[in-house]
C-alpha cells in the first residue's frame, strides 16, 4: 500500500521543529509500524536526507522505549499495545499518518521524535523502592502474600515507564506512572514500612519535575499499553492524604 507520512522534524533540543511530509510506497501489511519507519529511513538515506530519529529497542512491547504519537494518539490506534506492536494492517492504502513525539514540558524533545524522559527516573529515585541492601534477607516463603494482593501488585508493576500516560494527559501529569509504582509496593507486605512517606516523596518529586496535576479525565488509562487502572490513582490519593495527616 501507499501512505503519506507527516512527521515532526527537529534538529536538536533548542532548535525549532516543523512537520515534513513524505510518501512511501510498497508498504506491506505484515510490517510493524517501526519497520515501516525503517523503510522510510532507508529511502531518506538514499536520497541524501537525514533519517528520522525515533527511540526504540525491544520491539516487543516491554522495554517502554518506543514513544510516538500517531494521529494524535500516544502509541497509535491499537488498544493495549505499544507502537512497536502496531502493524501496518491497521492502516489502509492512501492513508495520511501524522507522527509526533510525546508532548510534555517535562519531556524535552532531543531530536525529531526522541524525547528526554529522565524525569521519570528521578521520580523513582525519590522513593520508588523498598530500602533494602543486598544480602541478609529472610527466606522468600517467610513472607506470604495473598494471591489477590500479589495479582494487584503485579497489575501495577507491569507499568513499562513509557510515559504514554503523560503524553495523553491534557495537564501532562505523571499521576498514573507514580500511582503504579506506589500501588505495586502498597499491595505487598514488603512495601508497608515506607508506604506513606513513599507516596508523598514521589508526588513531590513529580511536582518538582514540572508534571501537571491529575486532570481526572483518565485519558492516561486509555492510552496505557499495559492497561494500568486509574483505581491506583485513587489509592495514591488516599495514601498521600494519610501521609499528610500523619506528618510522614
Amino acid at each position: 500500500m501507499n501512505i503519506t507520512l507527516k512527521i515532526w522534524r527537529q534538529k536538536s533540543a533548542g532548535a525549532k521543529g516543523r512537520f515534513e511530509t513524505y510518501s512511501l510506497s510498497d508498504v506491506l501489511e505484515e510490517m510493524s509500524f517501526l519497520e515501516m519507519l525503517d523503510v522510510l529511513n532507508e529511502q531518506l538515506l538514499r536520497e541524501g536526507k537525514d533519517p528520522v530519529m525515533f527511540d526504540n529497542d525491544c520491539r516487543e512491547g516491554i522495554c517502554g522505549t518506543c514513544s510516538l504519537v500517531i494521529n494524535g494518539e500516544p502509541h497509535g490506534p491499537e488498544r493495549a499495545a505499544t507502537v512497536c506492536q502496531l502493524y501496518m494492517r491497521k492502516f489502509e492504502n492512501g492513508d495520511t499518518i501524522t507522527i509526533e513525539p510525546w508532548r510534555a514540558g517535562a519531556f524535552p524533545v532531543l531530536r525529531d521524535l526522541a524525547v528526554d524522559r529522565g524525569a521519570l527516573d528521578r521520580i523513582i529515585q525519590s522513593g520508588g523502592y523498598v530500602s533494602v541492601k543486598t544480602g541478609g534477607t529472610p527466606d522468600a516463603n517467610s513472607i506470604p502474600v495473598a494471591k489477590p494482593d500479589a495479582e494487584l501488585a503485579m497489575d501495577a508493576a507491569s507499568c513499562i515507564g513509557c510515559g504514554a500516560c503523560v503524553a495523553a494527559c491534557k495537564n501532562a501529569s505523571a499521576m498514573l506512572f507514580v500511582a503504579a509504582k506506589v500501588g505495586q509496593l502498597a499491595h505487598l507486605p514488603q512495601g508497608q514500612p515506607e508506604r506513606l512517606p513513599r507516596a508523598r516523596a514521589m508526588v513531590a518529586a513529580m511536582d518538582v519535575e514540572g508534571f501537571g496535576a491529575c486532570s481526572n479525565t483518565y485519558d492516561c488509562e486509555a492510552a496505557c499499553p499495559k492497561e494500568i487502572s486509574v483505581s491506583f490513582i485513587q489509592e495514591l490519593h488516599r495514601d498521600f492524604r494519610k501521609g499528610l495527616l500523619a506528618g510522614r
Binding site: 534538529k11 536538536s12 505484515e30 510490517m31 510493524s32 517501526l34 519497520e35 525503517d38 529511513n41 532507508e42 538515506l45 538514499r46 541524501g48 536526507k49 537525514d50 533519517p51 530519529m53 529497542d57 525491544c58 520491539r59 516487543e60 512491547g61 516491554i62 522495554c63 517502554g64 522505549t65 493495549a80 502493524y87 532531543l110 531530536r111 526522541a114 528526554d116 529522565g118 527516573d121 523513582i124 529515585q125 525519590s126 520508588g128 523502592y129 523498598v130 530500602s131 533494602v132 541492601k133 543486598t134 544480602g135 534477607t137 529472610p138 522468600a140 516463603n141 506470604p144 502474600v145 494471591k147 500479589a150 501488585a153 503485579m154 508493576a157 507491569s158 515507564g161 509496593l185 514488603q190
Partner: protein, 637 residues
C-alpha cells in the same frame, strides 16, 4: 596469555564458602576511596552497581538506553531458576548444579556452576525483599513451573514478564543508590573503548549519544555487563541496541575471548515473514509446558492444521525423547525442528516452521486456565501474525537467542586484563555449550548481587588504587584512536546504510555458523569475509556528524566491529571439531543425528587472543576437569 582460573580445591560444597573466607577485605572507611565503573545496567550491571554502592564504593554506571530500566534484560519472559525445592519434588543445589553442567554439555567449570546453584536461593530471597511480584499459590506462597532440561519445577516467574520484574527490582535498588549519591548514572552513554595502563584496566572512554561529546572516566576497576552478541546475526530475539562493541574493544586491548562459537538458538520463536523484518520475537519456552510440538508426517502436506488427523501428525519430540518430551533442552529442540523442516515437513508459507499446539491443553485445563498462564504471550502472537492461537496452533521456528561465549573470566569474574571484570551474558559464563532456560537471569543476578561484591573487594584490597587520572597520557592515546574511528565512519560516503549491510553479514553468519556448521561452510565464510568487510567500508554511508544525536553512526560502529568478530567466531567453530550443545558440526553426529562430543580432545575452553591487525588471532586452552560428575552422552530419551 596466561589462563589461571583460580578455582578453589577441596569438597565442592564448601569451595565458595572457603574462598570467601580467604579473600581479602577492604576496610569500610577505605571503600569510598575506590571508584568502580560499571558498564551496563541490565540484571548483571544493575545488580552489581547497586550492591557495590551499597557496600560503600563509588560507582559510575553507564548504559545506552535513555533509562537503566530499559536494558535488554527487561525482555526476558519465562522465569528464573533456583534450587529452593519449594514444590518438594526432589530438587537440591546438587541437582540444579548437575542439570546445568549436563545441559551445558560438559563444557563449563564445576566450581563455577556449583556456586551458581548455591547462590540461586539467595537471589529469590533478595528479589522478594525488594517487592518483586512473583506468581503465588492461593495459600500465599511462591509458585513454580518447569522449564526445559529439568525434571523438577524450579522456575520462579512473574506472569510472562519475569525479566522485567527482576530488572525493575535491580533498577529500584540502583535508583536508591543514585538518590543516596553513591552511584552516578550515565544513560544514553556508549563506552567506546577501554583504557589499559601497565597491564591494568584503569578507565573507559565514552560518547554521549545525544551530544556526541567524548568523555574519559578513570576507575580502580572496570566491570563490563554489556550483554551478549546475538545481534551479530542481524535477526535475533535480542533488543535492537544489544551489541558487543564494548567486549570487542576489551578483546583488542588484551582480554581473552572464550568459546565465541557457542551460540544458543531458541526453538520457539515466531518464524520470519519477510525481508524487511527487523527482529524475531520469542515465544517463551514456558509454552512447552503445555504446548505440543508437531509437523505433518508426510512431506509437502499443505492441509490446514485442523484438517490433518491425529494419526497423520508427528509429535516428533514426544516420539524421539519420551522422558523429556516437549521439554528437551533448547539445542535439542531446535535441531529437531530443523531436521523435520529439512525433510520438507515444515509448515507455513516458507516451510520454515513447526506447530506448537494448545488444543489438548485447552481441552484438559479449559481456555480460562490457558489464558491465565499464557494470555499475554498469546496476545503478542496474535498481534504479530494475525492468527488466534486459541483456535489454530502457533507456528514457531528456531532463532538466535543467547550467547554462551564471551570474555573469559576466572573464578573471581576477572578477565585476563587485571582489573577488568565481566559479568552477565557478556562473560563466557557458566553455561558451557548450551544454556538451560531460566538460567541467564539467575546467572546475571548471581554475578551482580552475590559474587562480584565479594571478589571486587579482593581485587581492590590486593591491587590498591590505580592512581591514574584522566589526564594521564594513556587516556589521551585511547581518545585519539576513538576519534579516528568516528572520523572514518562519518567520512563514509557510499550509498548504503549500516543496517542493510548488517543484514547481509547476518545471513552469512546464519548459514555458516548457525544451527549446523561444516568445515567447508566455515572455510568458505572465512574466505568471503575480507571481501565483505571491504565492501562495507566502500559502500557504507553515515549521514550527519559525530557531534549530534546520530543513530546511524552508533549502528555503523557496531557493525564494523561485527565484521572483525565474525572471523573469531568462524575460527572457533572450525577449530572445535566436535558437536557440543549449541555447536553442531554436521561431521560429528551419531547415527540418530544427536551431537557427538569428543571429550578426549575438546574438553576445554577455547580462548582467543588478539595479536594485532591483519594477524589471525591465536587460541589458548583452559582444560576442564570433572572431579564430581562424569561426562556422559547427554540423553533426554
Amino acid at each position: 596469555m596466561k589462563l589461571d582460573a583460580g578455582t578453589p580445591s577441596g569438597p565442592l560444597e564448601t569451595r565458595w564458602m572457603r574462598h570467601r573466607e580467604e579473600m581479602k577485605l577492604v576496610n569500610p572507611a577505605n571503600k569510598r576511596k575506590f571508584r568502580v565503573l560499571v558498564v551496563g545496567s541490565g540484571l548483571g550491571g544493575g545488580s552489581a552497581a547497586a550492591s557495590l554502592a551499597g557496600l560503600g564504593y563509588h560507582v559510575g554506571c553507564f548504559c545506552l538506553q535513555d533509562s537503566p530500566r530499559r536494558a535488554h534484560s527487561i525482555a526476558a519472559q519465562g522465569g528464573i531458576n533456583a534450587a529452593k525445592n519449594y514444590p518438594n519434588d526432589g530438587d537440591s543445589i546438587w541437582r540444579l548444579f548437575y542439570d546445568t553442567i549436563k545441559g551445558g554439555d560438559y563444557r563449563s567449570r564445576e566450581s563455577n556452576v556449583y556456586r551458581l546453584a548455591e547462590v540461586s536461593n539467595e537471589i529469590i530471597d533478595q528479589c522478594i525483599a525488594q517487592g518483586v511480584p512473583f506468581a503465588r499459590e492461593y495459600g500465599g506462597l511462591l509458585a513454580n513451573r518447569s522449564f526445559g532440561g529439568a525434571q523438577v519445577s524450579r522456575t520462579f516467574y512473574a506472569r510472562g514478564q519475569t525479566g522485567q520484574q527482576l530488572l525493575l527490582g535491580a533498577y529500584s535498588a540502583l535508583s536508591r543508590q543514585i538518590h543516596l549519591g553513591a552511584v552516578s548514572m550515565h544513560p544514553r552513554t556508549e563506552m567506546l573503548d577501554l583504557v589499559v595502563k601497565d597491564g591494568r584496566a584503569v578507565g573507559i572512554v565514552t560518547r554521549n549519544v545525544v551530544t556526541g561529546e567524548l568523555e574519559s572516566w578513570a576507575g580502580d576497576a572496570v566491570v563490563l555487563a554489556t550483554g551478549g552478541y546475538g545481534n551479530i546475526y542481524y535477526l535475533s530475539t535480542n533488543a535492537k541496541a544489544s551489541n558487543m562493541s564494548a567486549c570487542f574493544r576489551a578483546w583488542k586491548r588484551g582480554a581473552g575471548m572464550a568459546n565465541p562459537c557457542f551460540v544458543q538458538i531458541h526453538p520457539t520463536c515466531i518464524p520470519m515473514s519477510g525481508e524487511y523484518q527487523s527482529k524475531l520475537t520469542l515465544m517463551s519456552e514456558s509454552l512447552r509446558n503445555d504446548g505440543r510440538v508437531w509437523v505433518p508426517k508426510k512431506a509437502g502436506d499443505t492441509r490446514a492444521p485442523g484438517d490433518i488427523p491425529e494419526d497423520e501428525r508427528d509429535y516428533y519430540l514426544e516420539r524421539r525423547y519420551p522422558s523429556f518430551g516437549n521439554l528437551v533442552p533448547r539445542d535439542v529442540a531446535s535441531r529437531a525442528a530443523k531436521m523435520v523442516c529439512d525433510e520438507g515437513r515444515g509448515v507455513g508459507k516458507t516451510g520454515l516452521g513447526v506447530y506448537l499446539d494448545f488444543a489438548e491443553a485447552i481441552e484438559r485445563l479449559g481456555e480460562g486456565a490457558v489464558r491465565e498462564r499464557y494470555g499475554n504471550l498469546f496476545h503478542m502472537y496474535e498481534e504479530i501474525t494475525d492468527e488466534d492461537p486459541y483456535k489454530v496452533p502457533m507456528r514457531i521456528y528456531p532463532a538466535i537467542h543467547y550467547t554462551m561465549g564471551g570474555l573469559w573470566v576466572d573464578y573471581n569474574l576477572m578477565s585476563t586484563i587485571p582489573g577488568l571484570h565481566v559479568i552477565g551474558e557478556a562473560n563466557f559464563s557458566d553455561h558451557g555449550a548450551n544454556r538451560l532456560g531460566a538460567s541467564a537471569l539467575m546467572q546475571g543476578l548471581a554475578d551482580g548481587y552475590f559474587v562480584l561484591p565479594y571478589t571486587m573487594g579482593h581485587w581492590l584490597a590486593t591491587a590498591g588504587p590505580s592512581g591514574i587520572a584522566t589526564d594521564d597520557p594513556a587516556f589521551a592515546a585511547v581518545r585519539r584512536e576513538v576519534d579516528a574511528r568516528i572520523e572514518r565512519l562519518v567520512a563514509a560516503d557510499g550509498t548504503r546504510s549500516a543496517d542493510s549491510l548488517h543484514r547481509e553479514l547476518g545471513k552469512l553468519m546464519w548459514n555458516a555458523c548457525g544451527m549446523s556448521r561444516t568445515a567447508e561452510g566455515l572455510k568458505d565464510a572465512l574466505a568471503k569475509l575480507p571481501g565483505m568487510r571491504e565492501e562495507f567500508w566502500k559502500t557504507l554511508k553515515v549521514p550527519g556528524s559525530g557531534e549530534e544525536f546520530n543513530l546511524n553512526l552508533e549502528q555503523a560502529g557496531r557493525v564494523a566491529d561485527y565484521y572483525d568478530f565474525a572471523e573469531v567466531m568462524f575460527r572457533d567453530a572450525l577449530a572445535r571439531e566436535e558437536s557440543s550443545g549449541g555447536h553442531f558440526r554436521d561431521e560429528f553426529q551419531t547415527p540418530e543425528g544427536e551431537a557427538l562430543r569428543d571429550d578426549e580432545n575438546f574438553s576445554h575452553v577455547s580462548v582467543w587472543e588478539y595479536v594485532g591487525a591483519d594477524k589471525a588471532p591465536t587460541m589458548h586452552k583452559e582444560e576442564l576437569s570433572f572431579e564430581f560428575v562424569t561426562p556422559t552422552t547427554r540423553s533426554y530419551k
